[in-house]
Amino acid sequence: MSQGPYLLRNQVIADIDQIDVYEANQGYQPLRKALKEYDPKALVEMVKASGLRGRGGAGFPTGMKWSFLPNDGRPRYLVVNSDEAEPGTFKDRELIEKNPHQLIEGMIISSYATGAREAYVYCRGEFLYGAAQLKRAVAEAYQHGYLGENILDSGFSLDIKVYRGAGAYICGEESALLESLEGKRGNPRLKPPFPAVAGLYGMPTVVNNVETICNLPPLVENGPEWYRTMGTEKSPGLKVMSVSGHVNRPGNYEIPLSTPLRSLIEDYAGGIKGGRQVKAIIPGGSSVPVLTADKLDTPVDYEAILAAGSMLGSGGCIVIDDQTCMVAVSARLVRFYREESCGKCTPCREGTFWMTDVLERMEAGAGNPRDLDLIRDMADNIAGKCFCPLGDASLGVVVSAMKYFEDEFEAHVTEHSCPMGARLYDTVNH
């Protein structure tokens, strides 16, 4: 068995984005093994046995998702979600820019397992370089016989296409992504039907995150038992965590799941800048509740983070120091959802608009004592009342920040200013 890193080998092997370097480091060997030693069903079983969960945010078991595809003879598609736009998340960018062949190999294995003959990567529009890297690597893979007709004499054929969005966070939501891939506005679809039944062009479709699919080559090489030597029963394996904010060494770190949050922040990311203290951590991208510093010993896995009051989400871990104003943090994030609301339903469109207004007003010292109740009221009118999860996602940080740092929110209205002096962070555009 090889030694890690497994998903971020680009951090230790120079030029692994080049196909000859990738091949010289066992690249495309797992594909050979998959095509030779497994039939598609056995591969799906292997992914189920590994316990791999989707890395796009929801943590849905990948093998189970694959087995939902109806067996009705219609063409199937694999669509890889590289829309990565959840604030604080930047792992997929590194994975596609620095090691595109790993994703392509994972896609070929996944397509073989799920019976797809055509696969797409949907990159966010801003990933001009990432998409170019993927296109170049796809062309190399064709030249080397890993794509196209009758791959490595296995009888299996696959085409991969790289598609670029054009600036819209909502296109990360899988049904909006499929709309966008069909050349439409990125408005989410009503579910059910889920993409497995009616996805791209109405056909059965598997949508998976970039990192999820990148797990396939090491999984085939080392087997599901190996995967389960890391993490927990319900959260086995490896996770790439994106750590940013007030840390000394922001970056992507591949960790065995259930590594303590403290270790991620201190050992991997080098601790807090300037010797200050942790005030809050957003452990899974901007859509999840904040954790306070007393939760630093929480293991980073799906169940433990949930039990601590948040979610692992996309693994975008934003670390906030004790000099930072939580009203400003909340304002900035709710503003993000206001900008990115697709406008289809009223609670999300109007709610994020007014909530931003009130938070920015508070931060500017122009709030009034009723504003805290106003925010709670607006949150109640958004929660559970939106067409897609974006509306609820806008509440994760603000509602939890108000719970844990209520004094700070109150001080903004009683003192008519930001008690932190809005120093690190001048959010106000009034």
């Binding site: 604030p87 604080g88 370089y129 050349g183 990125g186 940013s244 992507n252 906030i320 900035r332 001048d426």
Partner: protein, 153 residues
């Protein structure tokens, strides 16, 4: 309409099984050359892909990277997402506004630079982050350094 747009439209249609899927790639390709998508361009694209004009218009207006008005030769996106804000992006934006003599959302008089806000660009480890014509420039040392390297060189 430029003759090569027909060629590009056919290439995009050949790549994707349903003609609609050719729309975003074709718009990207044309905008990269033209700078923005004028009303005439939108009419042309609708014709090339046999789509209704209002449909193409509504798609164009949905996505923030399609421009319906002329932009500068260099479009600078400054990320104002949380991780960048924690690392000085708002100050960077204010400095750029001051140096360029424009507000966010505007283009300099000489047509050189358009300054825009971006939401998280998925490069938060390199905060503060900017893109110039969608090429990452990060971390940005200062407004002066960014302008010296990307605009005045």
């Amino acid at each position: 309409m430029k003759p090569k747009w027909q060629v590009w439209a056919n290439e995009a249609k050949a790549e994707f099984p349903k003609a609609n899927s050719a729309l975003l790639p074709l718009l990207h390709r044309i905008q990269t050359e033209e700078g923005y998508l004028s009303e005439n361009t939108i009419n042309d694209v609708a014709e090339l892909l046999q789509l209704p004009v209002p449909y193409v218009e509504s798609v164009v207006s949905f996505y923030s990277l399609y421009f319906q008005k002329p932009v500068g030769k260099r479009v600078i996106h400054v990320c104002v997402g949380l991780s960048c804000a924690l690392n000085g992006s708002d100050q960077l934006m204010h400095h750029l506004e001051g140096k360029l003599g424009i507000q966010e959302g505007q283009t300099t008089q000489d047509g050189e630079v358009t300054l825009l806000e971006a939401e998280c660009l998925a490069a938060c480890d390199l905060a503060p982050v900017a893109q110039v014509n969608l090429r990452f420039v990060a971390p940005v040392e200062s407004a002066d350094a960014l302008l010296a390297k990307e605009v005045n060189s």
